[in-house]
């Protein structure tokens, strides 16, 4: 099939100081091709200057979150046939500064992630040196939020984040949730305090965009709600 691929371009260094779009006509596209395959085709044979991030190419490394026909997706996990259209528009994710073409500044995103203490706090090790025990049910409790690959698709789909870049954003909350609800962790209270401040979890307006955007199908909005509940009730369950 033939595809008209419209790509956002911005590169002040080369004089492209105003955001604009380039359109490439691609012939012989397989409906099962990934959008990433199309971008690679453009870079290889149409315009080598087109810049984007990618690595694993199968949806587990989180490098290539983009807006594809207006929706945040991973370019390597969106197939041409999923889009039901011969015109495909690819743009950078919103709310983070565009550096060049589809590449945005990820530093603020990772800073927010780091602000919620995304690491296990528990220095008690069993005397025999073996594993701490955890029931299957207790492990299952936080399984969903362990899946996060930090691609930023959720945070950059959030209207609150667009209007206020101080908001910690759903990805950071998901990563706090992963520890708050892990029975082995001992610092839930500190994390809840961090998320209870003005840039924290109560900025969420339950738009649900994040849940729809997550390529790992994490129930992001639910995780955010559970963190809110834990703060309000003082109970973690």
């Amino acid at each position: 099939m033939d595809i008209s691929l419209k790509v956002f371009r911005y590169n002040p260094e080369a004089g492209r100081t105003k955001p604009a779009y380039d359109t490439y006509l691609l012939n012989g596209v397989d409906p099962t091709d990934r959008i990433l395959d199309l971008l690679e085709e453009v870079k290889d044979y149409h315009d080598g200057t087109l810049s984007f991030r990618r690595s694993c190419a199968h949806g587990v490394c989180g490098s290539d979150a983009m807006r594809i026909n207006g929706v945040n997706r991973l370019a390597c996990k969106a197939l041409v046939q999923d889009l039901n259209s011969n015109s495909i528009t690819v743009e950078p994710i919103l709310g983070l500064k565009v550096i060049k073409d589809l590449i945005v500044d990820m530093k603020p995103f990772f800073d927010s992630y780091k602000s919620v203490m995304p690491f296990m706090i528990n220095d008690d090790i069993p005397e025999d040196g073996k594993e701490r025990l955890q029931s299957i049910a207790d492990r299952e409790r936080f399984d969903d939020t362990t899946k996060c690959i930090l691609c930023a698709a959720c945070t950059t789909s959030c209207p609150t984040f667009w209007s206020d870049d101080k908001y910690v954003g759903p990805a950071a909350i998901v990563n706090a949730h992963r520890f708050i609800f892990d029975t082995r962790d001992q610092a839930a209270e500190e994390r809840l305090n961090i998320l209870n401040d003005e840039s924290g979890v109560f900025r969420c307006r339950t738009a649900f965009n994040c849940t729809e955007a997550c390529p790992r199908e994490i129930h992001v909005t639910q995780a955010v709600a559970e963190v809110k509940q834990a703060i309000v009730s003082g109970v973690i369950k």
């Binding site: 870079k43 290889d44 694993c56 587990v60 996990k77 995304p118």
Partner: protein, 597 residues
């Protein structure tokens, strides 16, 4: 930020090996990690099935069994002292990961869950043993996340999206690296006492691969260009179950949970090739069986692929005929729900890329280039050893897929790569910190950047009459056809000649992007150069080895030849090609014998 930095230990690469090294090195030395990707993008995150350790949580298991299985899996080319070291270290290191917070799946009694994996056997029952500790089918993701979390906690220094292009050596001593900051295009120099390469593999040399775009053999190429030999590069693993054409990995854990390979005639094919271990024979054996079936016209629709079937009916049928039991002795019976819980990501991949549901339909799979057994030679402390006598190069360390200890020999067992990265990442980190405490900074040359600048300028100023994309495709195709699962003298000679022609043509590859900010085109071209070097060393090493062993299967020399070839290859890259040498394998209590599964 100044463009010159000084850190006692510099680690290149932020996958499992690099991060584990960073955690340990940073306890005793000023440490920095340089990575071309954000650390959480590293390819460790794509590993699925598990990490091998004889914890014995579900049935009896021992370090000795793990050692033996790994020696046998390596087709006796692995060094037995190193393998025993790894199998022993496996147990404490897996507990250590749990203590760091890794969310392992759990058994009924709350211990770390374990599943069977190819080539790992219970010596009493002679059936596959539950040795692979796992976190659903995203064990690598959890290891990468957990180690990165610990690095954040311990405030390790990171240079994210900096691409290392050169290693600086002064008077035979490691003195640092040169890297480009991808966001600005500026070259940075790093003066160090110790440098650890944890740069991963080079699977992008082949057409069908499970490997990330980033897996371009940078570490191999940079070290080889500095005169460091590469060990056993002819041994490259093809994983039996990649998604048809795409090569995306379907974990061996699928077969661990009872999945079977079925040919185009609806028969279980491994009955013939590995009557005992069957679908859980080691990877080289299974990949060859699939190739033979396809060649003899028994592929699905007579094509190259087979079916991997994990539908509950098929799993239960074969589990019954195999007499498979649960740890408590009851017959093994699974359900769709159980499969979904244990293999959620695999189900997701199949739905996304194939539009099929693996609990209802079989998955079309073919062997996919997966893992480099060979690489930079090291001892068990990660110290790089640069000749037949294992002479240590001061201050240079390697760990993970880029290194060759050698614990995998001619064929790696599943779950031993996640183990390798944490065991030897830890050792390298400790040793590098210790070395930096006992040694002063070596002198650092004023012209350290020159070699790198020359490489970059060459690409920027080339006439661009050749296309990098075309050269890449031709390389992948010739390596897939002739230096893949099966090999012949004629085919490999053709591959060597072709790679050399491509290296000539590569000199004329240019770029249209002349900018400095995120010049990914320039980076891709530089990486292609690394791939071509990796391909040449691989093909030349393979052509010379006139026997079949592990992943190196020659149709013209179908037998293993211990008399002549029970030795490690060392390959030096110099201006007029590749020079080969050999060194002894460390044997031990396991005498080489015929390998039957």
């Amino acid at each position: 930020m100044s463009n010159h930095h000084q850190h006692e230990v510099v680690i290149v690469g932020a996958g499992g090996a690099g991060l584990m090294a960073a955690l340990y090195a940073s306890r005793g030395a000023d440490t920095a990690v340089i990575s071309k990707l954000y650390p959480t993008r590293s390819h460790t995150g794509a590993a699925q099935g598990g990490i091998g350790a004889a914890l014995g949580n579900l049935e009896k298991d021992t370090v000795e069994w793990h050692t033996y299985d790994t020696v046998k899996g390596s087709d006796y080319l692995g060094d037995q002292d190193s393998i025993e070291f790894m199998a022993k270290e496996a147990i404490p290191v897996v507990y250590e990961l749990e203590h760091m917070g890794l969310p392992f799946s759990r058994t009924e009694d709350g211990r770390i869950a374990q599943r069977p994996f190819g080539g790992h056997m219970n010596k009493e029952t002679n059936k596959p043993v539950t040795r692979a500790a796992y976190a659903a089918d995203r064990t690598g993701h959890m290891i990468l996340q957990t180690l990165y979390q610990q690095c954040v906690k311990n405030e390790v220094n990171f240079y994210d999206e900096f691409q290392v292009l050169d290693l600086i050596v002064e008077d035979g001593k490691t003195a640092g690296v040169v890297a480009v900051d991808l966001s600005t295009g500026e070259l940075h120099t790093y003066h160090a006492k110790s440098v650890i390469f944890a740069t991963g593999g080079h699977g992008r040399v082949w057409e069908v691969t499970s490997n990330a775009y980033a897996y371009t053999g940078d570490g191999v190429a940079i070290a080889a260009r500095k005169g460091i030999p590469m060990e056993d590069m002819e041994f490259f693993q093809f994983h039996p179950t990649g998604i048809k054409k795409l090569g995306i990995l379907i974990t061996e854990g699928v077969r661990g949970e009872g999945g079977v390979l079925i040919n185009g005639e609806g028969e279980r094919l491994m009955d013939k090739y590995a009557p005992n271990a069957k679908d859980l024979a080691s990877r080289d054996v299974v990949s060859r069986a699939m190739y033979i079936e396809a060649r003899e016209g028994r592929g699905v629709n007579k094509e190259k692929h087979m079916y991997l079937d994990v539908t509950p009916e098929v799993v239960n049928k074969y589990a019954k005929s195999d007499g498979r039991t649960n740890p408590d002795g009851t017959p093994y019976v699974t359900t769709a729900e159980e499969i979904l819980t244990k293999l959620p990501d695999i189900i997701d991949f199949c739905r996304t890329y194939l539009g099929i549901d693996p609990v209802k339909q079989p998955m079309p799979v073919q062997p996919t280039a997966h893992y480099a057994m060979g690489g930079i030679p090291t001892n068990v402390y990660g110290e790089v050893v640069i000749d037949e006598k294992n002479t240590i190069m001061p201050g240079f360390y390697a760990a993970g897929e880029v290194a060759c200890v050698s614990v995998h020999g001619a064929n790696r067992l599943g779950t031993n790569s996640l183990l390798d990265i944490v065991v030897f990442g830890k050792q390298a980190g400790k040793k590098a910190a210790e070395y930096s405490k006992n040694n002063k900074y070596p002198s650092f040359p004023d012209d350290a950047k020159e070699n790198t600048q020359k490489q970059v300028d060459h690409i920027l100023n080339s006439d661009g009459s050749e296309s990098a994309a075309d050269i890449g495709k031709e390389m992948k195709s010739v390596m897939m056809d002739h230096v893949g699962v099966f090999r012949t003298e004629e085919g490999m000679a053709k591959a060597v000649e072709k790679i050399r022609e491509l290296k000539e043509r590569y000199q004329k590859v240019g770029v249209t992007d002349k900018g400095k900010v995120f010049n990914t085109e320039l980076l891709n071209v530089w990486e292609l150069g690394c791939l071509l070097d990796s391909a040449e060393i691989t093909a030349v090493s393979a052509l010379a080895r006139k026997e079949s062993r592990g992943a190196h299967a020659r149709e013209d020399y179908p037998k293993r030849d211990d008399k002549t070839w029970l030795k490690h290859t060392l390959a030096w890259m110099n201006d007029d090609g590749i020079k080969l040498g050999y060194k002894d394998v460390q044997l031990g209590k396991y005498e080489p014998k015929e390998r039957v599964y």
